[in-house]
Structure formats: structure tokens, C-alpha cells
Symmetry: D2
Subunit: 294 residues, 4 copies
């Protein structure tokens, strides 16, 4: 179905995400390294957490004309810049399209939102497979021409099914997983295989109303605003690094059913915005918090 004119223009660029102990001159050192080697910087954002004394940076430059061959950039950067400055860094290339697996259950709104953006070419991503613990959304996957794999899960088969899911993701060379209202808790083992690579949407303004039935809890508490939170999944439920949040007003006239309906619009937009930031390699995680570059 990828017949719609693409919305993006790909430039051939390299992206560095860096964090390290702050000290004088890091920014100058990195930009000099790129400038001297004829790297035309098209994006630079940096942040210093002065309390933690950590320097964060995202820089993107054109590979066209860059003096160091793409497959040597990592080695040179490590040797000349990163090692002396004790940097943690990751290097990405804009022409490596990330491969994403979608995990869903029965609710279709986040799934549709993601598949619409995918089909419309809003995102630079491949989605080869949809995984589910229910068969409900199989027709949606079929409509969009994406492999749908059904893994019913119960207490007995969970470890075995997760093993099969993991093998499937391996087979498809999946880079990261998006839980699009997947109503099944992943085991710690599974989560550990994808550190900061599983994005979840929780249907509340975390840390309020973590766990099950947040709209019921919000209604019971009588809040005047409800929210949704996208975060990386960690072994602690709904406690991973927050990527994006948004809220909307509610009032005494809103029943739980109305909160659920209002919440759906929040959930899909907040999840998709988080996925978009992830795809752009604009997120760094440190101490269970994210730095999300502009």
C-alpha cells in the first residue's frame, strides 16, 4: 500500500548521540573534528546537566564531502575524541532505515495511527511484522499487507511464547518494538534484550495511575485533567524513562466511557510522537530519564 507520494526527503547524513562527564571544551572539540574533516553540520543541539555534571549532544552532518569514510567514522571518533573524553556515544546513518515490530492486543486506535503514518510515508521506518496475543486485529494487518503473528499467552506458555516472539524478531532483524496498547506484561528477560528499545504507551499521566484501569482510577479520584505517557519499557511496570506526555481536560460530566474515548486520541498521538523522536535518534537515556532533543 506504499503508493502515496513520500513526505520526506532523505539526506545522506551521520548522527552522533553523545553523553559524557562535562568539562570545558567538549563542544568545541567535537565541532572542530567535524569541521576539519569537511563535515557540514546540519543539526546541533547540546545540553549540560549542571547538577549531574553531564554533557549531552546530538550532532548531524552531511556525509557528502566528509573526509572520513562512513565505515571508519566510528573508529576514528572513538580513538581521537571519545576515548580521551570518556564519552558514551552512538553513531547512526540516515540511510539505515530502522525496523520496527508492533505488538498489539484488541484496541486498534494506536495501530491504525502508526500504520497510517507508515503508509503515508510520514516516517522513515520499516514495519515487517505485527505481533499479538489476540486475533482481533489480524484483518487490519492484512489490509495493510503486514505479516500478523498470533501468540496467545497464558501463565504456562509465557516463557515459551516470548522465546518464539524473540526468534521472530531476530528473523525480521527488528531494531525496536512498539507496544501499541499491548495488554500483556513482558517478562524481565524479554525486556532486557531490548534496553531502551521497547516503547510503550500508558493511558495515564504517569506516575499517576500506573498499572491497570487508569481511567477508572482517574474517574474515581475526580481529576480534572487526564493524560497519556509514552516511555521506554524497563523491568519495573510503568516506571521506565518517560519520552512524551500529553493531557486533556475532563470534568464531572465525563463517565469512565467518555474518558476512555477522550484518552484514545491522546494515546495515539503521544505514542506516535515518541516513536517519531526515536526514529530520528533524538532520544538519550540517562539515570531513567530521557533527554529528547528538539
Amino acid at each position: 500500500m506504499k503508493t502515496i507520494k513520500t513526505l520526506r526527503e532523505k539526506k545522506n547524513t551521520a548522527i552522533l548521540l553523545i553523553h559524557c562527564p562535562d568539562k570545558q571544551g567538549i563542544l568545541a572539540t567535537v565541532t572542530e573534528f567535524l569541521n576539519k574533516n569537511k563535515g557540514n553540520i546540519i543539526y546541533l543541539d547540546q545540553h549540560v546537566d549542571r547538577q549531574e555534571k553531564i554533557f549531552y549532544m546530538r550532532v548531524e552532518w552531511e556525509l557528502d564531502g566528509f573526509a572520513i569514510p562512513a565505515d571508519k567514522i566510528g573508529e576514528y571518533f572513538e580513538t581521537l575524541i571519545a576515548a580521551p573524553l570518556q564519552m558514551n556515544w552512538k553513531l547512526y546513518f540516515s540511510d539505515d532505515t530502522p525496523r520496527m515490530a508492533l505488538f498489539v492486543s484488541k484496541m486498534p486506535h494506536c495501530l491504525f495511527d502508526i500504520l497510517a503514518r507508515y503508509t503515508a510515508g510520514e516516517w522513515d521506518v520499516e514495519i515487517p511484522v505485527i505481533v499479538s496475543n489476540h486475533e482481533t486485529l489480524k484483518p487490519v494487518a492484512e489490509r495493510f499487507g503486514i505479516d500478523f503473528q498470533y501468540f496467545p499467552i497464558n501463565r504456562e506458555n509465557k516463557a515459551e511464547q516470548e522465546k518464539a516472539e524473540f526468534d521472530l524478531l531476530k528473523k525480521y532483524n527488528i531494531d525496536f518494538v512498539v507496544l501499541a496498547r499491548y495488554m500483556q506484561i513482558l517478562s524481565e528477560d524479554f525486556v532486557k534484550k531490548y534496553p531502551n528499545k521497547i516503547i510503550n504507551i500508558h493511558h495515564s499521566f504517569l506516575p499517576a495511575f500506573a498499572g491497570a484501569k487508569p481511567y477508572h482510577a482517574a474517574h474515581e479520584r475526580g481529576v480534572k485533567i487526564i493524560g497519556a505517557t509514552s516511555h521506554y519499557v524497563t523491568s519495573e511496570l510503568d516506571a521506565g524513562p518517560i519520552i512524551e506526555q500529553d493531557v486533556t481536560r475532563c470534568s464531572h460530566v465525563d463517565t469512565v466511557q467518555k474518558l476512555v474515548r477522550k484518552g484514545r486520541d491522546l494515546e495515539k498521538i503521544v505514542l506516535s510522537q515518541a516513536v517519531y523522536k526515536h526514529l530520528q535518534r533524538k532520544i538519550l537515556v540517562f539515570k531513567n530519564r530521557t533527554v529528547v532533543f528538539n
Copy 2:
């Protein structure tokens, strides 16, 4: 594709939308009429515009057990209540599912959002046909199994093509039209056939940036917030009664392209919220303004 479990439960109800000159006792008169005839009210909202001296009301009651047969309610209400009080009123039945035509051009985001809700059963609506002045989105219509009709429009053929479109809408018994980023101005003649029955989404916070290229204009003006506006179409461009608006923050780092991207999410949600209110018969129009009941 309507295979997903429906989200709504239909109740068999009647809905009255009323406006009239305000005077003492209107509310009591209407509620008495329903109560005496054993109509169990499940929704009532009213508003008095004290400046214009106009009374507005939306009331919904269960037909089950109501003493007046459904096909006589209009006649009885007119004779007993509406005529003496000079009321404008409309009567709807919840089991009459509205029929909607979608007009699109090249951009798919609003189309996808609407079709996703339709397919997921979020809305009580039928969408038998999609009309377009471009062939770009035909594959989307096909995927969702909806008739797609292509009407290329230029200065010469516009009147003739609109005639053909109107005949098509007639054939499909269309109740109202949604312009889902339809980039072609409808003629006054066409608009007059559907008073307060054509819903448009304009990609700005109206009345700012009416007309073409609002994101370019917003960028040029250096605003710090952008918006989207859904409204009923009238013969004056972008000047019809506003149904819903929403906004999002932007800043000096946002290029026109980024505004366009941010705006897409606003546009689709604002348009769909307006359509939802229209489907629920919660909108009254008076003097080019809307009353949107809760």
C-alpha cells in the same frame, strides 16, 4: 473491513435540538411534555444567551415506553409545544445512522484518521463514498473497501463536475459532507445545498491565516502557537461557524516543514472531534456561531 468489535452500544432514543426566543418556563414546558408522556430523559443540556435572548436546548430520551409513537413525535411536539413558543427544532432518532461523504485531495492524514475510527466502530456513521479531485488516495479507499470517485476540476468544468458530485451524493443518500483536506473551493451553489452540513478543516487558528498557505504565513509572522479549526462551510471562505479548534506550541526552531508536520496531528484530531459532535447531533448554529453541547 468492519470486523473489529464495535465500541458503541446503541440505545433507541430520540433527540431534540431546540432554539427559540427566551422566556420563562420553556425548560419546564419541554421537560413536563416528556415526563408526562413517560419519556425517560437520559441527556439534557440547555443554555440561555442572555444578550441575544435566545434559549438553546438539547434533550435526549428513551423511545422505549414513550407514549407517543416515534413517527408522531414531530407533529405532536410542533402542535403542543413548538408553535406556541416559536421554536426552531430538529428531531433525530439514534437508530438513523447518518451517511457521510468524504472529499479529499492528496494528503491522507485526515482521511486515514476518519477511516480508522469508522473501521474501529468509534462512530455511528456510514461512509459509502470518497470523492476526490486527484487520484492519489484511490489506493487508500480501495484498501478500506469504499467507493472512490475521481472528479478532476478546472475552471471550465467546475460547474459540471459539481453537478455530477451532487448527483452522486443524492444517489448515495448522503446526509453530510466532510472535507478532509480537500484543496478545492466549493462553489456557492454547491455550499447552499448543504447548509451546516459540510464540515471543513482549516490548517490555522482562524480567523488568523485564512486562505492559502497558512503555515507559511504563520512562520513568516513568527507566531509561538499554531492551530487548526474545523467549521461548517459557508459561501465566504474560511468564515463559517467554528465547531472546534486546537493549538500546539512552536518556536523559532520550527521550519515551515516542521509546522506542517506538527499541524497534521492537530488537523486530524480537530476535524474528527467536529465530525463526532456533528454525528451526535450536539451542534446548533445561530448567527454564524455554534452552540456545541457537552
Copy 3:
């Protein structure tokens, strides 16, 4: 300092706040009662919680021309309407100006916001006294010509000091209390003397980050939005009925100090909006939740 031209025009009205078990015809009964007695209704809002089966209503009408004398309205209403329908109701008169006591500690932003509105005549209220457990804000009280009473509180003297505070409030005929960033927990005894009559501002989006140091906790958790919550005080800390909430965006660049600064603007507006609703008698409390009329 009340020299600035007043912003409000007082009308001589009566206000009824009602809640009772829902049944057919309540609304018609109440409006008929007012209409028959020549009460010109200038505001009416009602809500039915269909899950709890409770009817809520706020109605305001002009006393001018009303057939029942003001001092008899309560008696007549109870006998003729309320008793048969098992109504809980409260009757207010717009010319009874509520009397408010302000409790503060060291932070002046909420105090200033309230005194500015008071002085500007935004609100129909009297503020005869400011109570504090610190002397810091005494100069502010003096500038605005309001009695400032200092009650230092420690574990030993708390009961005794609260007794003295209560006597002071009695002396001043105080109707309700506003805790404008008062950093001292009130005893259960004290709270029980003012049921739904003590309004607090908590500097977080409750129920997230209840208790001490919410901005530190929000920073630690890495949230992308912070909030403020105004609520009636109950004996359980930060758990009373929520009146109003608002939020603002934050990001990784915001230190705790910046969150505190951003939060101040939220806190003062959210608290003042809650006080305004309370002054207008637009709030009903049921089962630890509020109905806040429009």
C-alpha cells in the same frame, strides 16, 4: 486600598445548589416552583450522574419580583420541594459577601495574586485576616491593610495554636479558609470544623507527587509536564476533592529550580480559579469528587 473601580455589578439573586437521588421530573418541579412564583431564572445548570443515579443542579434567580420573601425561601423550598424529593440543598444570596481567611507561610506568589484580585474588585469577598506560621509576609499584609496574625507552630503547641486560630476565625466570622502555600499540615480536628470550606493548592498534578517536595520528585521521575491542583482539604493529606488542575510543559533542560519557577505561575492561577468558583457557589461535593458548574 479598595480604591480601584469595581469590576463587578451585583445583582440581587438567590442561588440554590441541589443534589438528590435522580428520578423523573425533578428539573421540571424546581423550575416550575420558581416560575410560578415569578422568579426570573438567570442561570441554570444541571447534571445527572447516571452511574450513581444522582441529580445535581445549580439555579440562580432574581429576588426582585419573587413572590416568596427572601427569609422564607428556605422554609418553603424545604416543605414543598426538597423534603418530598429527599434533596440535599443549600441556599445562598448574592448580597451575602463571603468572608475568607488566608493562611500563608513564606512564599508570596499566591498571596499576592489573591490580594491583587481582591483589591482590583475581581472578586466579591471580604478578607479581614491573614494567618501565618512565619512572619515573612507580614509586610505584604500591612501594605494591603489587612490584619496579620502570627501563630508559630511546633509539635508541642500545635493543638493550642490551632485553637487560637479557630477563635480568631470565629471572631472574624470567617466562612472559608484558603491555604495559599501554607506549609503546615492542619490537624484532623481543625479540618473537620470546615468541611469543604478549606481550599488548598498542591504544587503537583495530583494524585502524582502527593506530599513533600513534588518538584524534586517530578524532576527525579523525568516527567514532561508538571501541574498544580487545588482541592478541598480533608483529613487525608492531598486526597480531598479536586476543584481545579492545570499543567505546563517541561523538559530535560529544566532544573528543579526552573520547575519551581514555572510552577509558581500555575499554582497561583489554579488556586485563584478554585477560589473564584467557590465564591460563585458553583461547587458541589459528592463522594470525594466535585461537580463544578460552568
Copy 4:
């Protein structure tokens, strides 16, 4: 009245605001200059407008230990860095407290909000004088111990009165002017004396509803959101560079009077946020748009 414990801690720093044609290496050049001279950078934010090919930067560093004496920094920077790179730059020192004049008419809410922050020590500013074309707010100025100067203005005396105002501002060494709902249009001559140094608050979401009576116009148009806009004053009315905007929801129940009331809270917060950004020297203006650093 400056008796309340100050909220800020002043550091002795220098601030550079820079914009210039973009080319490779500017960022590295500036940071090297500071690093080599032992300037400990505590804030750095930069932005490249790739469409206009303009580089923007704000950098702040500690003067303590900096090798170049404060009074020579400008000269050295111009010679060594700015001239070769065709930079526009401004240098500020954090221990130079800006001096602000307030212009008001009859409405007190913005005035109170600013004086409250001033008195509470939220801002690093001096406010020696309040100018008004009405005497209404004189008591407020007196309460806060600030000189109040009354300049009634009509068509005949306008030029003369503005001359007198200008002389007064000179006498008080005023750096910038804040129009806190000053309801009198400044002449082009006056405006030109303070380029990007007069901050206004307009009570609408500009460019919608420029000019007089924006709340009436918003009500008439039936918008669902109202806003407020702070901007630098230019000779074209309500058309200067926008600094900050914010919005709030409204609906058909809101009369013009209610919009005015809701708007007041927006206006005061939006104006104060703009003033705060200005005080922090975080605003650059280019081509009638602002760059507002974080």
C-alpha cells in the same frame, strides 16, 4: 517593600547574544575563544536558520577567572571574532540590573502581577517609575512605593506629553518599557527611540483580532479558544515581533464579560513571561521574528 527574601542568586557572568551569516565553524570559534581564556560556560544555546542561513547564539560564562577584563571583552571579541565573521552581537553583564518603566491605564491586573514579582524578588530588575494616562492606578503605585507620573493625553498634547515622558525615562535611566495594558497608541517617533525595548501585551491571539476590542471580536466570530500575545512594539500596530503567546478554551456559554475575565489571567502571565525572557537577555530579533532561547 522589598523585604521578602530574594528568590534569586546572582552569579557574576557575561552574556553574548550573537547573530550572523551561517558558515562552518562559528560555534567552535566562539567556544574556543571562551575556553582558551578560561571562561567557564554555564549556558550555551545556538540555532541555525537554514532557510535564511543565519546563525544565532546565546552564551553565558563566569567572569570569575576569565582572562580578559570585563571592560575589554567587547573590544577583544569585536576584533578577534565578530569582525571577521560579520557578527551582530550584544554583550551584557549579569550584575547590570535592567531598569524598567511601566506604562499603565486603568486595568490593574498586569501591573499587580509585575509588582508582585518585583517585590517578591522573582526578577532581577529595578522599576523606578510608573507612567499613566489616567490617575486610576496611582494608589497601587503608592502602596508599592513607586513614583507615579500622570500624563493625560489627547490629540493636541500628545507630541508634547510623549516628549515629557521621554525626558522622564531619560532622567530615570530607563532601559526598557513595559506596556501593562496601556490603552494609548505610542507615536512612531517614541517607538523608534526604543527599538525592541518596548514590550506590549495584546489581548488576543495575534494576528487574529489586532486592534481594538478583541474580546468582542472573538465573541462575535465564535472562536473556541482565546489568547494573549506579548510582542515588541513597532510602528505598525500589533504587528511587532511576537515574544510569547498563550491560549485558553472558551465556548458558547462565555459572554464577552467572561472572555474578558478569562483573558486577564492569560494577559498577565504572558506579559510577565515575556518580560522575564527579556530580563534574562534571551531574546534576539531578526526580520520581525524573535529567537527566544530556552
